[in-house]
């Protein structure tokens, strides 16, 4: 009969094997979707034609389609998906709430308002738009965080305050576009979200910001894990919890803002992808964040591909497709949370009260 230790080791090895399979399988799938995204559209390229075009062969029109339409579009879908998914995973860990995501708590809407104001002021250059989106998303995160801290808000209240921020920011955005008719046309595409009008000048500065944000987060995986232990435990092992929380919020806002600056308001990526990935990787950031990036990139690129092909030659904005798919998933998550105790403030400290029962008080129910 096997002892407990051996059984646990076998279980761990099996799980590790599963994780590796998920990682490499996901990466291969993501690359395959990216290749399809380069090949398929109103004009299809075969893999051989694609290889020829990438080496500088083929006719001029096909090469132009590939270089000026398909490559930026695929790059945009990959990077926006990766950025939003990682941003969602980080927000969920930092706010200790699995329902947090840039789309739901108003981070995307903040970026959207930043972009609208920037365009309204006549600044249409790529760097200006990216910076405005980042500033908008960062300000939104800060407002939600400070409100939650000050009110010692429960996780539900944090989400609801984010939903309220979302509503306020969208209303302000709407008002601006109603008053400025030139912005109205831009606004429709932007609010729905999509990659049909992506260009290099808009994409490249944002890609730089995304690379910066990803690099920052991937080097701070241990800090992020320690932060999720709760403020007092984290400080007990030497992490300046308050400072690092702000750093993580800023980096997640950077990712979301940069993605929104060229992709518009894509909803639900930051919510669905981390939820799906956590089932396979667990909550440890060194596994979670890279896999979220791969899965998010693959998911958004796949949705973009479907939106291009399903009504071809017409195109369905990818944001609509993702909302149609994401809405039911969100409802499913809410149903699964039914009955879960949800009155712990975001800093994990309960108000003083007599303890009952044998379970550790804290927010384990959220992470469990």
């Amino acid at each position: 009969m096997k002892d407990k230790g051996m059984k646990n080791r076998e279980y761990a090895e099996k799980k590790e094997y599963g994780r590796k399979f998920f990682f490499w399988g996901g990466t291969a799938l993501c690359l395959a979707v990216a290749a399809f995204s380069l090949c398929l559209g109103n004009i299809h390229f075969s893999p051989a034609q694609l290889a020829g075009l990438l080496q500088g062969g083929g006719d001029r029109v096909s090469r132009s389609i590939l270089i000026y339409a398909r490559i930026p579009r695929t790059l945009a879908a990959l990077s926006a998906g990766a950025a939003l998914a990682v941003s969602g995973a980080v927000l969920q860990n930092v706010l200790a709430n699995r329902l947090a995501s840039p789309g739901i708590i108003g981070v995307n809407a903040g970026a959207g308002l930043g972009v609208t104001l920037c365009c309204g002021a006549g600044m249409l250059s790529g760097p200006a738009v990216s910076c405005a989106a980042f500033a908008g998303s960062l300000l939104t995160v800060l407002v939600i965080f400070l409100f939650s801290r000050r009110a010692r808000a429960s996780r539900t209240t944090v989400i609801l305050s984010g939903v309220a921020m979302n509503s306020i920011l969208n209303a302000v955005c709407e008002s601006i576009t109603v008053l400025d008719t030139d912005l109205a046309m831009l606004s429709i595409d932007f609010r729905v979200g999509g990659f049909s009008s992506v260009s290099y000048p808009r994409l490249l500065p944002a890609l730089g910001l995304i690379a910066l944000g990803m690099a920052g987060l991937f080097t701070l995986c241990n800090e992020l894990d320690v932060l999720t232990l709760g403020d007092e435990t984290a400080q007990g092992v030497g992490l300046a919890a308050g400072r690092y929380r702000m750093i993580f919020l800023a980096l997640s806002a950077l990712l979301a803002g940069a993605a929104v600056s060229f992709a518009g308001l894509l909803g639900f990526v930051g919510l669905i992808v981390p939820h799906f990935v956590r089932r396979f990787t667990g909550n440890e950031s060194r596994r979670l964040l890279p896999m979220c990036a791969i899965a998010g990139a693959g998911f958004v690129t796949f949705c973009d591909l479907v939106s291009r092909l399903v009504f071809a030659p017409h195109e369905l904005p990818v944001g609509i497709l993702m909302s149609v798919a994401g809405g039911p998933v969100f409802l499913f998550l809410l149903l699964r949370r039914r009955g879960v105790h949800d009155s712990v403030p975001i800093d994990g400290k309960r108000k003083r009260r007599k303890r009952s029962g044998g379970e550790v008080s804290g927010d384990g129910d959220e992470h469990g």
Partner: protein, 252 residues
């Protein structure tokens, strides 16, 4: 050595600690007792620098805690808080995070950290739980993981807030034995305990807190002689001396 010198602290505008003076010496177990709301946990939080001091100072081995960086403080003090999150990570990883104060950029755990974390798990008898998720463990098992995490920190001062919560009586006695061993190793152990009988049994010194002030500080015998337990909790503790040592029990 932890020296608490005339410490005043509180939340918002209300002062909870009104000038506390206390010394916890190396090689000794010092336990804080007191009714709910007497300021025990607040005092620990002030010692750890989680609460800004309104007055006074906390001196660790001759150096003011105010002058220490957070990671430096964590290498000197291992802390087990009262209310803890239950993160969705494995027990082994949780214990490994006890080595966090020793990491330098880019902060990756090495073989030495894993060895020390493994030893801490062995000491708590939870090595076989290393791959189990924290959320899958019972309250008592989780508590052992947290204690192992504090041990992995290898600090000279160990501060624990109600560490025996969720432990059954057998585990409580093992815990008491372990605290004794740590103090014999020269560690400074500062505990908050609600179990007065356990506090009397294992402590070298007891500080009785009442409404943010030290009511009495002394050995268990001195605490019993002054009838401090009766004043704090309204119960009387009797002693019975046997060959195995002094036994304590409540008079009902």
């Amino acid at each position: 050595m932890v020296e608490i010198r005339n410490v005043r602290a509180g939340y918002g505008k209300s002062e909870i600690l009104h000038g506390i003076n206390l010394k916890a010496a190396p090689g000794e177990i010092t336990t804080l007792i007191g009714a709910n709301g007497s300021g025990k946990s607040t005092l620990l939080r002030a010692v750890l620098g989680f609460l800004p001091l309104w007055g006074g100072d906390v001196v660790l081995d001759g150096i003011s805690a105010k002058k220490m960086r957070r990671d430096e403080l964590s290498r000197r003090i291992a802390y087990l808080p009262q209310g803890k999150n239950v993160p969705d990570i494995t027990a082994g990883r949780m214990v490994l995070h006890g080595r966090f104060p020793y990491l330098h950029y880019p902060r990756r755990y090495g073989a030495e950290d894993m060895r020390i974390a493994g030893e801490a798990m062995d000491r708590m008898g939870i090595r076989e739980l290393a791959e189990r998720q924290m959320a899958q463990l019972s309250g008592g098992m989780r508590q052992k993981v947290y204690i192992a995490m504090a041990l992995a920190q290898q600090a000279d001062i160990i501060v624990m807030d109600e560490p025996t919560s969720y432990l059954d009586i057998g585990q409580q006695l093992k815990f008491a034995q372990m605290m004794r061993e740590l103090s014999e190793d020269g560690k400074t152990v500062l505990l908050v305990l609600h179990d007065i009988l356990l506090a009397l049994k294992i402590s070298h010194r007891i500080a009785a807190l009442e409404e943010g002030r030290i009511l009495q500080w002394g050995t268990p015998e001195e605490i019993l002689e002054a009838d401090t337990v009766s004043r704090l909790y309204g119960v009387t503790v009797k002693t019975h001396r046997t060959e195995a040592g002094t036994q304590y029990f409540y008079e009902i």
